[in-house]
Symmetry: C2
Subunit: 326 residues, 2 copies
């Protein structure tokens, strides 16, 4: 069971990126007559995946379906593609579990909230990229998060994705056994994104650790859930411990995202904006329009990165518009 | 921290149901000037929650947004309400995280996939029921699942919700500490649902244990994910162990649903249909129309229960229609 041995030494990324195919780590997959990607409503028998997806180079994933639709429309405009951005069709229209849009070499996919939800999507995405024989693919999670000791609106590019105990690892239960996986992300990619942020006006960004929890309320030390068994002082003590461990934001998907991309040889980055400073409070009470502007920042940053990579001219364009996805 | 002591002795349900308000277990909540239910896009300041929700008696939750909309339209028809079922509005239209519909005393809410996603919804739902001063509320999770040794299409009413190690408990990390909670469900309610199933044609149902996992592929012993490190024999060995522990279906939300309802004194049941028999395979390859009929079964059963409770005449009506939500 080689996966048990995949705890990172920190050097695998370079090896992976030299061999640029997408690795599924499943010896049975290629002998299956058909592979139904059930939660995408796609299949190797009914869809020509190489034709549909073979030229994909960038995959951007985020929790909210409407936000990922808005991002696809924004990228359509940014890449200067022909046709009407509003006409982009949801490739996963046969299901409402996820939505998926393709604009040029960019895939935009929603993943819902939490580790299990993004993990189902990632299994099927990685199989899709494999079946489509994609090469040199970079994945970005663009999302929202709670900040720790940062001004709201700061974009955090994740250095290490850590668990609730501040460890850079993800525990996966497989057949009743706990397997521990590394959650290291591509350091070069993070640095490149940080450089991009410096080229954009009004886009404060840092590289730091991101904590991934399985719960939004008790799991993140919030005092405003239906259940709360701790004091405000105990909450702050925990957040200070996280801060001391280099954590500057908290979200709910980064560890499994990092772990699965790492194993499958995909370069990956987590880019989340902070909507509030958890040292100051728990509720997200910032006005809607301000939150909208905040959540566009990761999208603008990743769009800038993609355009540079594609050698496209960098021109200021209006940010993506959405009224939902908060 | 009283929650640590809430491991069930099995007798609490009766006590809870005698005191029929919804208990939030948070001493800070009632002193908050405003409570923003962020992922519902509702707030105690901007919405009159007692007026909107005070008469709610049944809350039905399920993963898929389109399925829960179809269920609301179905209930509208079943309850004989005036107006057009197609005109029912999503109460959470300001966000795309969840959708919510109210038809008479019935709330229908989507919760996405996995424990973290349903847990956010449950925190905000329980606070909503508390703020709205609801009484005598019963919760149902109506969903889909993989079966173990059952004909596909069987409805499993959950006796105990168990984890990947077959234990009837849910582990919650709070401030870096693991707290263990009981996942017992209301046995009387399960029996009442089983009796209802006997009154409906073509609705095979059983009461048994349900396993809740954090992953759909490796976590459920599937051989068809992007990652697979075990053999078909090891997979079957694990499923046989689960079967021996009384598990007849596997899904991804029941433990936290049971645990949170238990703590907050809400009578609750998990009613999931099996889409396939995992002893026979991993992929969901049943034709779309057959899957649609299967997933209507939990809805029909719960609708029958609700109508009986309300003393409404039981008349056969066509099942809910949806083309999505698979």
């Amino acid at each position: 069971m080689p996966l048990k041995l995949l705890k990172s030494t920190g050097n695998e990324h370079n090896e992976y990126t030299k061999d640029q195919e997408v690795h599924v780590m499943n010896p049975y997959l290629d002998s299956m007559e058909e592979d139904i990607l059930y939660h995408f409503s796609l299949s190797t028998r009914t869809h020509n995946l190489p034709k549909m997806f073979g030229d994909t180079k960038f995959v951007c994933v985020g929790g909210s379906a409407s936000r990922m639709k808005a991002f696809a429309e924004f990228m359509h405009q940014e890449l200067g593609l022909s046709g009407n951005a509003g006409d982009i069709q949801d490739i996963c229209a046969g299901t409402d579990r996820y939505c998926m849009y393709k604009v040029g070499p960019v895939l935009s996919i929603s993943h819902g909230m939490g580790v299990p939800s993004i993990s189902i999507m990632l299994h099927e995405l990685i199989k899709l990229l494999h079946h489509a024989r994609c090469r040199d693919v970079i994945l970005f999670r663009i999302g929202t998060s709670g900040g720790i000791g940062l001004p709201p609106g700061t974009v955090v590019i994740t250095d290490k994705a850590v668990d609730s105990f501040f460890q850079p690892q993800f525990e996966q239960v497989v057949l009743g056994q706990v397997i521990v996986r590394s959650t290291e992300l591509d350091k070069g990619l993070a640095q490149e994104l940080l450089r991009c942020s410096g080229e954009l006006p009004a886009l404060p960004a840092i590289i730091s650790n991101t904590m991934c929890t399985f719960d939004f309320y008790e799991g993140q030390g919030r005092l405003d859930g239906a259940l709360c068994s701790f004091s405000p002082e105990e909450k702050l003590e925990y957040l200070h411990k996280a801060h001391k461990a280099g954590v500057r934001n908290i979200e709910m998907e980064s560890t499994v995202f990092a772990a699965m991309c790492h194993i499958c040889g995909l370069r990956a980055a987590v880019v989340c904006v902070t909507l509030l400073d958890r040292f100051e409070g728990d509720q997200i009470s910032t006005p809607h329009d301000v939150l909208l502007e905040y959540q566009q920042r990761p999208q603008c940053l990743v769009s800038h990165f993609i355009k540079k990579r594609l050698g496209l001219p960098i021109m200021p364009t209006p940010p993506p518009q959405t009224s939902q996805g908060m």
